[in-house]
Amino acid sequence: MGVFVFILFLLFLVSCGDRDKKVVIGVLISGEGRLTKLDGFKDGLKNLGIKNVEFLVYNGENSLKGIEEKAIEIVKDEDKFHIIVAGGSLEAYYLKKIKEDLKAPVVIMGGTAIKTWGFVDEKNRPIRGITGIDNLNTELMEKRVEIFKRFFPDIKKAVVFCTPRFEASKLATRLTIQAGEKHDLKVVPISVNDVRDLEYVISHMKEDGFGAIIITPCFYTENFLTSYILHYARFYQVPVLCLSPEQATKGCTIAYGSSNYDQGYQASYIAYRIIKGERVENMTFERVDKVKLFVNQSALRELGYTLDKNKLALIDQVVK
């Protein structure tokens, strides 16, 4: 009889079960610059009611080697995770390079050129267990050039600093050149080896008729050069066109795109759906839903430009 009662008690315990399971999320980011995406992602999940979450962050410290090493670590620990979150397309690429058939689904908190990286098929369906947010950084290059020309119609030649190591970066540069041709702006990609090279080019570019610098989605430029570019460009009074509002707050003259925080926040909804049991195959990449134009007023003023009412009407936020 005692055994019978014990069995009943065990059955009761089994039926009660643990209903609010802890969600463990592995995060692979290329560097500190992408931590704001994670902030948005965390806030998003919190607002969606997912509170029992543990984040294990693997930071590649802005080097390709570092990202690869961290990707190996995350793959080794893959059994721990319900979801792996990648800071961008590059991180997702390394994860899949290390192990194609990861058990945990991968969510990109804002990735560029997802088709070029091979994350979707011809019909934009996720094919490698990866989904997330397409931040359209490559596709928006034309729009950026168009907006830039509205602000700086007199500038005819611009420089792109990029040493493309990946196909996506090449595509972004190519699209920028094409957009320039369409909007009467000659865009010339220049490869620099170090900061000294960079300063030399920026200090002499006006002599060669180049009036602006365009930042494109390019790992090397984004992670190493942007802060130097912004510094020298301000010193030598060259306007810079950037990708994200965060860069405008750091001194970039004009930036059009989606903020890292918004991308992370939007990605949280995808992660939420995965946690709730939806399959990655059924979730197409979402395009960013908030694209804003930021202008750094002091940088613009230093260049000697003033904003008339029609130009002001174009701006979503003026950074002072």
Binding site: F4, N124, N282, E286, D289, K292, K309, A313
Partner: protein, 346 residues
């Protein structure tokens, strides 16, 4: 008799098991009906709110577009920049186009690179705000094209068509009303789905539909039966689990009880059959059957004692006695005096 008692016990147990399972399934059905009724009641309310909010949002968006145009126009801003501002100031509006009074597209502004959602021309040129159509692209996005007539000082200037990202809007609503698991379908006037949010599996689903005011569209909510009846299935699973455990326990208890009742009776039967050899009824243990066995043994002992007294008397009597079986006349017993008289000795 013994067989019939066992059978009766088994029948009673089977009846109890059957009754238990019958009531479990009956209650499961009742629970399912209740869940369906409450699902229909709750979701009808939610769907009505959803349809009303959507209708309100459409009206609100149209009036906000008009007020933004008036505000920016008063600041002497060009119409093109006004369209750009609308796409920036209003959430979920991603693109806008401006049309002349003949419905021809003059220019358009969009935040995202793709502009296909804005039609090249419009043929509904009546001077009223309306919903034109739903446009869906390969990225799974759907836009509701809203037409707003543009009039300044009672002079018709043209039309503005803006694309409202209806998918994102519905996504927000479904989360706000806790129906993230539901499939939401927007149907045109013909009942053809123009937008499907959270396309669920092909499992059997429950659905409800309601019209959206002033939009010539309807909205449908579907949820998988599995999800709606989850509590009922959970109850059924748990009940069956407990029932099986309970029945198993009941069978075990029944088996041991029956065994405990019939084992001493079996022993008693064998002892009585073999009594002539052992002259003893052996029943181990305690309880009613043991007492009965003991009483039986006492009775037999007293009978044996009496038999010995009579045999003693019979053998030691001074008279010769001969015991003859009545019917056949067979001699059954003689005493020693009889043998002495007849000089019969071994």
């Amino acid at each position: 008799m013994r067989q019939s008692i066992k059978k009766s016990i088994v029948i009673v147990i089977f009846f109890m098991v059957f009754a238990q399972f019958f009531f479990v399934f009956a209650y499961f059905q009742v629970l399912k009906d209740q869940l369906k009724t409450s699902w229909e009641r709750d979701k009808t309310i939610i769907l009505k709110i959803l349809a009303d909010r959507l209708s309100e949002e459409i009206n609100l968006t149209q009036s906000k577009i008009r007020s933004l145009v008036a505000r920016y126009r008063s600041l002497d801003i060009d119409t093109r920049e006004i369209l750009w501002r609308i796409t920036g100031d209003m959430e979920h509006i991603t693109a806008c186009g401006y049309y002349d009074t003949k419905g021809r597209l003059i220019f358009q502004e969009a935040r995202l690179p793709t502009l296909e959602s804005i039609p090249k021309s419009i043929d509904r040129l009546n001077w009223e705000d309306e919903v034109l159509n739903v446009y869906s692209n390969a990225n799974g996005e759907s836009y509701l094209n809203l037409k707003v007539f543009d009039m300044n000082s009672n002079i018709p200037l043209g039309f503005i068509v803006c694309s409202l990202n209806i998918r994102d809007l519905l996504k927000e609503y479904t989360h706000a009303y806790g129906i993230q698991k539901a499939t939401i379908r927007l149907l045109d006037s013909q009942g053809v789905p123009v937008l499907v949010l959270n396309q669920g599996s092909n499992k059997k689903q429950l659905s409800l539909k309601t019209n959206i005011k002033n939009a010539n569209m309807s909205i449908e909510l579907r949820e998988p039966e599995d999800y709606v009846y989850k509590n009922a299935y959970d109850f059924l699973k748990l009940s069956l689990l407990l029932s099986f455990a309970l029945c198993g326990g009941l069978f075990l208890i029944g088996f041991f009880t029956v065994r405990r009742i019939f084992k001493p009776l079996e022993d008693l039967k064998l002892s009585v059959i073999n009594w002539a050899e052992k002259k003893n009824i052996e029943v181990k243990g305690y309880g009613e059957v043991y007492i009965l066995a003991r009483a039986f043994q006492n009775l037999l002992d007293s009978l044996e004692k009496e038999k010995r007294v009579y045999m003693n008397l019979f053998n030691n009597l001074g008279d010769a006695l001969l015991l003859v079986e009545n019917e056949k006349g067979i001699i059954e017993m003689v005493n020693s005096k009889f043998l002495d008289i007849r000089r019969v000795r071994n």
